[in-house]
């Protein structure tokens, strides 16, 4: 009995231990090593890679990373809430179609979607032309390679990830509760605020998790549609690896990113536990 459990667990557990847990450990170990100018790692212990993070470049990058992540998450959640509400109230058949319509574009390649935005935001692109003709932006302003462009594409990329958990929570929500709230005198928005949102709180937490954490580590979006002034932590990690091949510094930055990610994970874990307690009582 115990033996069969072990045999069945071993393949996946061992694989993940070898190729996930150990590598993460190696990142932390290497982040305390010295580096030579030729991309090598010097076998001595030092905190130099961490001291290098103290450069002002990094603090502004870290701030920007946090700012963009929070903004993206907030915009995604605020958009996803009414969308999932509307979807959950549609007839079953339409719900399925809507879900499919939302999800299918995101099965096309990730880079293609980003590229599509690059085309759209391009100085000769459609959006620029439209906005200049409406006199909303000056002809020499750039849409591409700005922080705004990065935010736009981040929202575009992660919006469905926010909608899916919210929708699946809203779909299970008993909308008679909203009628009950209205019957008890709540206005439309009050019933949404006091009944609907608490009712789908588990969905909100998972939506937060699946948007906020990946955005913190995003790298390719600022790489393609952002400029030097809109780099995020992920870009810096990649630069240390691919541009000057300083692996210890890349390791130190990665450890920093892990630390940043730990916070929301712990918070959401806490919320989820509280939530669980609430529904079991």
């Amino acid at each position: 009995m115990k033996r069969s459990e072990f045999l069945l667990t071993f393949p996946s557990a061992f694989w993940l231990f070898l190729f996930f847990i150990i590598p993460v450990g190696i990142v932390i170990v290497i982040s305390f090593r010295g580096s030579d100018p030729y991309g090598g790692i010097i076998p001595l212990w030092t905190a130099e890679p961490y001291r290098s993070i103290n450069f002002p470049v990094y603090s502004s990058v870290l701030l920007r990373t946090l700012r963009l992540s929070i903004l993206t998450t907030v915009i995604c959640l605020l958009t996803a809430l009414p969308v999932s509400y509307a979807m959950a109230r549609l007839p079953k058949k339409l719900q399925e179609i809507c879900l499919l319509l939302l999800v299918v574009p995101f099965w096309t390649n990730f880079l293609i979607r980003i590229y599509a935005w690059k085309v759209l935001l391009h100085p000769d692109g459609l959006l620029k032309m439209l906005l200049t003709s409406l006199k909303l932006v000056s002809p020499d302003a750039s849409l591409l390679y700005t922080e705004g462009a990065v935010l736009m594409v981040l929202v575009y990329t992660y919006l469905p990830f926010a909608i899916l958990p919210l929708y699946s929570a809203a779909e299970k929500f008993d909308f008679a509760l909203i009628d009950a709230a209205k019957d008890l005198g709540a206005r439309g928005w009050q019933s949404v605020l006091k009944v609907f949102i608490p009712g789908i709180s588990a969905g909100i937490i998972s939506a937060f998790m699946v948007v906020f954490i990946p955005v913190l580590g995003s790298y390719i979006i600022p790489e393609i549609v952002g400029g030097a002034e809109s780099e995020m932590l992920g870009n810096k990690i990649a630069q240390r690896v691919f541009v000057d091949r300083n692996l210890p510094r890349a390791g130190a930055l990665s450890s920093l990113l892990m630390l940043v990610i730990l916070f929301p994970s712990v918070i959401s874990l806490f919320f989820r536990r509280n939530f669980k307690k609430e529904i079991t009582v």
């Binding site: 996946s12 557990a13 509307a86 809507c98 590229y115 000769d124």
Partner: protein, 259 residues
């Protein structure tokens, strides 16, 4: 009017759908544009498609992508299914640890997984190649397959297992007469998910790829950075169409499963 109350959410829904489709539509239209520039209509043309089919780098990348996807899907489906089943069947300390192993890759951003694998491969003396890419893809796919199979268990009626035992089926027969057919939709969608993730992945592949082992996403990346945009339009259009076709077929087949 009853619908009046839900007008704001509905507007948001429609706007969101437009927002999602607009860039893709422009891309697809442009792939037939004879002009290099997206704002100028140079007449209907298939010349970018012709160019695409003569690009040898793309063809090689396509072969690499298929090799990576096929092998990583095969391995991760087996490992992930096993993981999903044991996580539901046993409740022990071992499974708690196992569960943490399975969940962590789901929340860690790609770039962290990419760099940790890269540093691991360097430290362990692996030569970066298609093999290292495949290892990376298997590593992130296992968790998704396991999660999908586990989800399938959620509405799994265990009394059916008892019914089979009651009718004389031993453990082995229960496994292939009950578990496998009933879990197969979960296993298939887990494999489908692993496939799309593998086809889609850029970041982890980028970190673990060696020279000459570029996959399609990496090829697209270098085309975006240095290459000829209209060819990417053509490639994207083909990609989008294939995706829609796969989804359509999958949806059809799912519907006919239990009738």
């Amino acid at each position: 009017m009853k619908t009046g109350r839900y007008i704001f959410p509905r507007i948001m829904l429609v706007t969101t759908l437009l927002f999602i489709y607009m860039p893709l539509l422009i891309l697809m239209i442009n792939s037939f544009n004879g002009s290099r520039f997206s704002t100028v209509w140079g007449g209907f043309s298939l010349k970018w498609y012709v160019k695409l089919f003569h690009d040898r780098n793309i063809r090689r990348a396509l072969v690499n992508t298929v090799i990576v996807a096929a092998s990583s899907v095969a391995v991760s489906t087996v490992l992930g299914t096993l993981a999903g089943v044991v996580l539901v069947r046993y409740k022990s300390v071992l499974q708690k640890i196992h569960h943490i192993f399975i969940t962590l890759p789901l929340i860690v951003p790609d770039i962290l997984m990419g760099i940790s694998l890269l540093l691991f491969f360097i430290a362990a003396g692996f030569r970066l190649s298609l093999g290292t890419i495949i290892i990376g893809h298997i590593t992130f796919s296992i968790s998704y397959v396991a999660a999908t199979v586990q989800a399938r268990f959620q509405d799994f009626d265990f009394s059916v297992v008892e019914a089979a035992q009651d009718l004389g089926a031993d453990n082995f027969r229960v496994f292939y007469k009950i578990y496998i057919p009933l879990l197969s939709p979960g296993i298939i969608s887990g494999a489908m998910l692993a496939l799309t993730l593998s086809l889609d992945d850029f970041v982890i592949t980028f970190f673990t790829a060696g020279p000459g082992s570029s996959t399609l996403p990496i090829q697209i990346y270098s085309m975006i950075r240095f290459g000829t945009p209209p060819v990417i339009n053509a490639l994207s259009t083909i990609f989008i169409c294939i995706t829609f076709m796969i989804v359509l077929i999958y949806q059809r087949s799912k519907r006919s499963l239990y009738r």
